[in-house]
Symmetry: C2
Subunit: 93 residues, 2 copies
């Protein structure tokens, strides 16, 4: 059975899938600003829409469009901003 | 609120999102064989895993890997086979 996760009162939802490379999540975000805590290292890929990601070390927001990927270190905070419904895939290391 | 659709006893689930190009669905399928009925024309893109699609006119299965897209005519049947958890995005025309 495909697990559905919900965060931020259902404004972010994700499915958990098992791939040959391990667990991945396929999620969607409604417009808003969200902060996630990572456990392991994550590789996030935008598959629809547009994601702004805050990088604390540069104090800068960077835009990631459909097809773009970025890494999120383990045990860190991921702050994102979404202005349209956006879908992503997340891999865990 | 992001709508979650469930088909085939929850072996296929999808989220409905609104993009600037209209409604899209972001879905996942567990291993199995499924037949869907289309209403409008659909453009399906595999974003994770692997999808076998049956084309009745050729009586042939064709494989679509991550990144590949195919069209499904309106008012038709879409027969697919999945051997690993697979994620897709569907656009409607």
């Amino acid at each position: 059975m495909i697990t559905v996760n919900e965060y931020f009162d259902g404004k972010v939802k994700s499915f958990v899938i098992n791939s040959s490379e391990g667990k991945k999540t396929v999620g969607v975000m409604e417009p808003g600003e969200y902060e996630f805590d990572t456990d392991t290292k994550e590789i996030m890929t935008v598959v629809e829409g547009n994601l702004s990601v805050y990088f604390a070390e540069d104090d800068e927001w960077e835009e990631f469009e459909k097809g773009a990927s970025f890494d999120v270190p383990a045990k860190s905070k991921l702050k994102v901003k979404v202005e349209q419904d956006t879908a992503y895939i997340c891999e865990y290391e």
